[in-house]
Amino acid sequence: MTTGALVVELTGQIGTLPLALALKARGGAAPVVIVGPNGSGKTSALMSIVGALKPRTGRIALGDETLFDADRAVDVPVEARRIGFLPQRFALFPHLDVLGNVAFGLGAAPRGEREQRARAALRELGVEALAGRRIEGLSGGEAQRVALARALAPGPRALLLDEPLASLDVAVRRDVRDFLVAHLRTLGIPTVIVTHDRADAEAFGGDVLVMEQGRVVQQGSLAALAAEPATPFTRQFAGGDGPPRTDG
């Protein structure tokens, strides 16, 4: 399955910081990876795409549908954008069991069908056995797969992941990362990943977009960034000096 590209071109405001973002993520291609120091606007960028923050100017388009266009006063509400979102700590609903979490986004269908589809989504991620479990008892890796199943169950047209590995123990991070890389490859929908970890950027293998103080300062493959870093942050991140970080 392949959907149209996610094209984002916007300016906005995060507190006092101006935000400027331009990116294009294609279905079937490697994810776009956004990196940058704390407070550089990475999460705000995702929030704008998902529709929780309203940009001041610009456009967001997904395939041939315009989700946001400041000039034409188009602003599709969050619930109608059909963009999957995986926040850093997964934000599973603690009052529902695993199956209930995954079925949440399958709103209109009859109950039996919803459960069936939720189970299928869990199966896709290899965690169908967790269906009846409570959220509090899940390990970090399990919670991530459940959250991913929940995000994918309604069939989103794009997927945004905010630091998907940051809240996991270092011990399991590499396995989860390998799984995530492999699984995202099968989805064929435009994907944007925010991370602060070089190992993630390397594993996902797509274009890396460096954000600093709300704007994109450089974009390219990790190798290209390392060869010609535009800022000290890029040099440090892409591994211009010293060996690359290997904390996963």
Binding site: F85, G107, R150
Partner: protein, 270 residues
């Protein structure tokens, strides 16, 4: 002897002084609170109790209290929940001011509340001409009782609701919307289920405050038997004629209050 600090000799009372002081002061307050409550029980008999409850003013007062506190609780929950939601979600000075304003009735003397309500809804009050034009007279009616109760009791519910809503993970609410849930659906399917316990506790505290409302009701709604004489006002009136009736009603309210507290404690522990 070495020139070190003098140690308390064996058998000295000094080490006992601190715990004794703490214990005595604490016991004094505990006693002060417990003694009047115990007195309510010890100075009556089951027979006198039943006799007191037989007074003709008791039935109407109980009925009126039930009806008005149910109405004010409904009003508080219906309007307080949206208000608490806004107070919890919105930033900015105006909203912080509103949050403080809502808390004001907690510290406001009930007599002041009574005067204020009269000056707002009374015949010569701010809305007086408007209400008179509509043929509505608020003071000294059941509506006045409900308004007074709502005014003093709402803060307890709103405060509890605000603190519950503020604790919700904003990411969770956003994820719910990315999964296709409209704002109302997010509210009813995520926000309310996760806040239920706190909201129920706040509603219980608020209802208890409304049930006990006395000062503002007396000034704004009067003390008309069968019309505006709620249980606390009936106690006040009975005290002048028959202490037993006052005592019976007091024990009734004490039992209700105690049961409510126990329920809240058990409810919040789970």
């Amino acid at each position: 002897m070495t020139p070190s600090a003098p140690r308390p000799r064996a058998g000295s009372l000094a080490p006992l002084l601190w715990p004794a002081a703490v214990g005595l002061l604490a016991a004094a307050l505990l006693l002060l609170i417990a003694l009047p409550l115990v007195a309510l029980f010890l100075t009556t008999s089951p027979r006198a109790l039943l006799q007191g409850l037989g007074d003709p003013m008791v039935g109407p007062a109980i009925r009126l209290s039930l009806v008005t506190t149910t109405a004010s609780l409904a009003l508080v929950v219906l309007t307080g929940t949206p208000l608490a939601w806004l107070l919890a979600r919105r930033r900015g000075r105006a909203w912080r001011f509103a949050e403080t304003l809502v808390q004001l009735p907690v510290v406001l003397p009930p007599a002041v509340a009574g005067v204020a309500l009269l000056l707002a809804f009374g015949r010569r009050g701010l809305l007086g001409p408007l209400l008179a034009g509509a043929g509505v007279g608020v003071p000294f009616t059941r509506a006045a009782v409900v308004l007074a109760q709502t005014f003093v009791a709402a803060p307890f519910y709103v405060q509890a609701a605000v603190s519950m809503f503020k604790r919700l993970d904003p990411d969770m609410l956003l994820v719910a919307r990315t999964l296709g849930a409209s704002r109302p659906r997010v509210f009813f399917r995520v926000v309310l289920p996760l806040s239920r316990g706190g909201l129920a506790g706040g509603a219980a505290m608020s209802w208890a405050r409304a049930l006990g409302e006395f000062g503002a009701t007396l000034m704004f709604a009067g003390n008309l038997s069968g019309r505006t004489q709620t249980l606390p006002l009936a106690i006040y009136t009975a005290l002048e004629s028959d202490v037993r009736t006052a005592q019976s009603l007091s024990l009734l309210l004490l039992a209700v209050a105690f049961a409510l507290l126990v329920t809240i404690h058990v409810g919040t522990r789970r």
